[in-house]
Every structure is written in structure tokens, then in C-alpha cells.
Amino acid sequence: MLSEYLGVLLMLGIAVALTVGMLLVHVYLGPKRSFDKKLAPFECGEEPIVSPRQRHAVKFYLVAILFVVFDVEAVFFYPWGATFLETGLPGLTTIAIFSVPLVVGLVYEWSKGALEW
């Protein structure tokens, strides 16, 4: 049963080893000639005047909320879709009822302007 995941585990091991190894080789091979101006964050030659870690437009936060709502609901579609051949018409009715709040929610957000940029 778990042996199916052996390939994934092996691939994960190789991938981590490869990426970490590349970074280590990079640290070892590269020259070390750093000074203050070189290490300053890129700002088109100017001194940065604001910190990047400040508040950002609330729209991005809104998208994150929409994502949580829709992605969790989308997850319920997967098992239903995979078993649709067996469930048939009762299955369709069930998912139609389930989708009503989803669609209503989408229409509501749309009308409220949550999807405007």
C-alpha cells in the first residue's frame, strides 16, 4: 500500500539533495567580495525610503478570503466527480443543491465589487 509512495519519497530525496547541493556548491565556488553598497536592497540607485514590510491594499487580503471559501468548496467536487458514473441523477441533484450557495456567493461578491480591481 505505502510502497506506491516510494517513488515520491525517492524523488523528494533527490530533489532536496540536488537543490541544497547546488546552493552549497554555489557558496563554495563563488568569490567573496561583498561591501555595504553591494548588499543594499535594489532601489534603482536610490536609498530605500520606505520599508517593504508595511500595509498593502486590502484587495489582496480579500482574494485570500475568496480563495479559502472557493478552494474548500472545490475540494468537495473532486470525489463527487470521480464517482459520478455511479451516483448518476441523484448525485447531480445533490451537487446542484450544494452549488447554489457557491454560485449565490459568487454573484454576491461580484455585485458588491469584491472582484473589481
Binding site: 510502497s3 506506491e4 509512495y5 516510494l6 517513488g7 515520491v8 525517492l10 524523488m11 523528494l12 533527490i14 530533489a15 532536496v16 540536488l18 537543490t19 541544497v20 547546488m22 546552493l23 556548491v25 554555489h26 565556488l29 563563488g30 568569490p31 567580495r33 561583498s34 548588499l39 543594499a40 536592497p41 535594489f42 532601489e43 534603482c44 530605500p48 520599508s51 517593504p52 514590510r53 489582496f60 482574494v63 485570500a64 475568496l66 480563495f67 472557493f70 478552494d71 472545490a74 475540494v75 467536487f77 473532486y78 466527480g81 470521480a82 459520478f84 458514473l85 455511479e86 448518476g88 447531480l92 446542484a96 452549488s99 457557491l102 454560485v103 459568487l106 461580484w110 473589481e116 480591481w117
Partner: protein, 389 residues
């Protein structure tokens, strides 16, 4: 045990050592041809340039021998972790994509896929969303304004398209009745009657029987054409390549979330992007273009045909080679298609990008699910037990 190791190593080596470097070359050469330039032709070995094929190797050497820089004020741990978090999901995503069918040699039976997981498609979606962490952490850890803007854009874009990417392929799950990619590939190794739906209305008039002979491969792209378009759009947006490169947007944000990355740290982002191109091609091929299936020639047909001449063991071997070749031809075609799209379209504006996701693709994928359900119920009315129309 040894088989699993061999299968895993084969696909990993093909994807990372063969496809990914070649694609960086194809990207340069194809863009050069499309823009009437000469393209990469400078790196040479003893005076021979090999059409610029040495450039990928030269790139790796150059990136490895650059200075390892971490900008002042950056979070050193997260700054190093971010490229790894970007590259690892790209590298391991190919584990579930079958590049060949199930073959039998004597007593051993094996399927050409690194990990034959029941929830293969979900694995792809899960691994795809893990890559979000890489770009977000990269932007946040760099402590640069450009990086931060890029990271915020990347977050919103990737999580938006993740929702629609999942919803757009529910139709495929329904048609094939499975989440297992190997099962889907086997189901696509057949054909269906294009005009089968006419049975619903009346029996065919005499003389029109030839309509029944028109058959198409049972591929996702023919059963779910709308899902194909939606999924391809979403998965390309997930990869953040032009025309969806808002998080990197060179002309606005310098380089977006990896502005503060140089050397191999940047190289890992670069590598991840190109490996993801191959993964996208593999996933779309497996879901929509039949995976390893040869159109109109099912596995039994090939095996039986060759076996009658040369014996069964050899037939299985030939069949395997044909299937693997067929799968990688489809991958190459899809990679080329992505390159064509990448060099043909200008970048979206951010509001257009979000509108496309939430106002076009999301309603269309919901619509597609219900249309598919209705179509399948009708098909069951015509021929009970038939998989799809």
C-alpha cells in the same frame, strides 16, 4: 524495488537533465526566430557552437561561479529556503504522471510511472500549490520593495488560479470516473463514435451508416474541449510565465519576487520555471492528449500485431518504446505550444488577470461541470453502461 528506483531515476533524469536545459535553448532559439534575430550562438567548444546548444551548460557554470549574495536586512534562512521551496515541487511533480502503460515481461509486471497513486491528479494540484510558498517567501525574505510587490502579486495570482485549475478539470474526473492518472491513460487508449449522440433522436437513415464509422480517440481534449482550454490557461498562469508574468513583470517590478536573487539562488527559480513547463506539458498530455496512447492503435492492437511476427516479449518491448516515444512527442508538442503562447502575447494588466480568473474561468468551469453531468446522463440513457458520449 529496483524497478521503482529505475523508473523514478529515468523520469527525473529525462526531465531535469534533458528537457529542462533543452527548453532554455528552445526558448532562446524560438524567440529569436519569431523576432527575426539570430539567437544564442556564442558559447563554443573548440570553435564549434553546435547551434547554441552549449549555452545551457555555460549558464550553469556561470551561475554556480557567481558570488553568493544575501542582501542586508534579509532573513538569511528564508532567503535560502525560498528557491528550494520553488524548485523541489517542480522536480517531484512528475512522479505521478505515467509515461507508459503496464507491460509484462515474463513474471514481472510494471507500469511506467514513478508513483502510481490513487489520487494522482490531486497530488499534482497539491504540489502545484506548494510552489506558491517559494515565491511568497522569496519576496518577503528579501526585504526589498520590488520583491515585496512581486510576492504580493504572486500570492493573489497563484491562489486565484489554483481554485479555477481544480474546478476546470472536474469534468475530466467525471468522464473517466477516476483520480488516478494511470487509469485515465488506459481509458484514453480507445476511441468513441463522434455521432453517437444521434442515437438519441432516431436510428440513422439507411445510407448514413458511415457516420458510425467516424471515430475519435477517447481523449480528454475531445471529450472536454472547454476544460482543456480552461485548464491550460490556469496552469500556465500558475507557472507565472508571460503573458501571466505579473509577479515578475521585468518592465515594472525589475524582476519581481526574485529581484534580490543572484547566482544559483536565482538559478533555482529559473530551473523551477522551465521544469514546470515540462510538468505542465506532461500533465496536460496525460489528462487531455491521451498520455502514452497512440491514436487509433490501442495497446492490444500493437502488441498483438508485433507478437504475431516476432513473439510476445519483443512485442511488449516494442509497444513500450512506441508508447514512451508517443508520450514524449506529446510533451514536446505542448512545450512548443507554451513557447509559442509565451512569445506571442503581451502581458496582461492586473485587473484583466483577476477578471479572467474570477469572472470568466470560474463561471465557465462551473458551467462545464453541469454540462458534462447532463451530457453523461443523456449518454447513459442511450447506452446504459457507456462511459461517455
Amino acid at each position: 524495488m529496483i524497478l521503482v528506483v529505475a523508473k523514478t531515476l529515468f523520469i527525473l533524469i529525462v526531465v531535469t537533465l534533458l528537457f529542462a536545459p533543452l527548453i532554455t535553448w528552445v526558448e532562446r532559439k524560438q524567440s529569436a526566430i519569431m523576432q527575426d534575430r539570430i539567437g544564442a550562438n556564442r558559447a563554443d567548444l573548440a570553435g564549434m557552437t553546435f547551434l547554441g546548444l552549449l549555452h545551457p551548460a555555460a549558464d550553469v557554470i556561470k551561475l554556480l561561479s557567481k558570488e553568493d549574495l544575501v542582501p542586508a536586512g534579509a532573513n538569511r534562512f528564508l532567503h535560502a529556503l525560498a528557491p528550494i521551496l520553488s524548485a523541489v515541487p517542480a522536480l517531484i511533480a512528475f512522479a505521478v504522471i505515467p509515461y507508459g502503460a503496464t507491460y509484462r515481461f515474463g513474471d514481472t509486471t510494471f507500469t511506467l510511472v514513478a508513483a502510481d497513486i490513487d489520487w494522482g491528479v490531486l497530488y499534482l494540484l497539491v504540489i502545484g500549490s506548494l510552489a506558491t510558498y517559494g515565491s511568497v517567501l522569496a519576496g518577503w525574505a528579501s526585504r526589498s520593495n520590488w520583491s515585496m510587490l512581486g510576492a504580493i502579486r504572486a500570492t493573489a495570482q497563484m491562489i486565484s488560479y489554483e481554485v479555477t485549475m481544480g474546478l476546470s478539470i472536474v469534468g475530466i474526473f467525471m468522464v473517466f470516473g477516476s483520480l488516478k492518472l494511470t487509469d485515465m491513460a488506459v481509458a484514453q487508449d480507445t476511441t468513441f463514435r463522434v455521432f453517437g449522440f444521434l442515437d438519441l433522436f432516431a436510428s440513422l437513415p439507411a445510407g448514413a451508416g458511415w457516420l458510425n464509422a467516424i471515430r475519435l480517440p477517447n481523449w480528454g481534449i475531445f471529450l472536454q474541449p472547454l476544460a482543456f482550454l480552461l485548464f491550460l490557461t490556469c496552469i500556465m498562469a500558475e507557472n507565472k510565465r508571460p503573458p501571466f508574468d505579473l509577479p515578475e513583470a521585468d518592465s515594472e517590478l525589475v524582476a519581481g519576487y526574485f529581484t534580490e536573487y543572484s547566482g544559483m539562488r536565482f538559478g533555482l527559480f529559473y530551473m523551477a520555471e522551465f521544469i514546470e513547463v515540462v510538468v505542465i506539458a506532461g500533465a496536460v498530455a496525460a489528462l487531455f492528449l491521451g498520455g502514452w496512447a497512440v491514436p487509433y492503435l490501442s495497446q492490444e492492437t500493437i502488441t498483438a500485431g508485433v507478437a504475431s511476427l516476432f513473439g510476445e516479449g519483443f512485442a511488449n518491448l516494442v509497444c513500450m518504446l512506441i508508447h514512451v516515444g508517443c508520450f514524449f512527442s506529446k510533451v514536446v508538442f505542448l512545450v512548443w505550444l507554451q513557447m509559442l503562447i509565451r512569445w506571442s502575447f503581451p502581458r496582461f494588466r492586473y485587473d484583466q488577470l483577476m477578471d479572467l480568473c474570477w469572472k470568466v474561468i470560474l463561471p465557465l468551469s462551473l458551467l462545464n461541470i453541469f454540462l458534462t453531468a447532463a451530457g453523461m446522463l443523456l449518454a447513459q440513457q442511450i447506452a446504459p453502461g457507456a462511459a461517455a458520449s
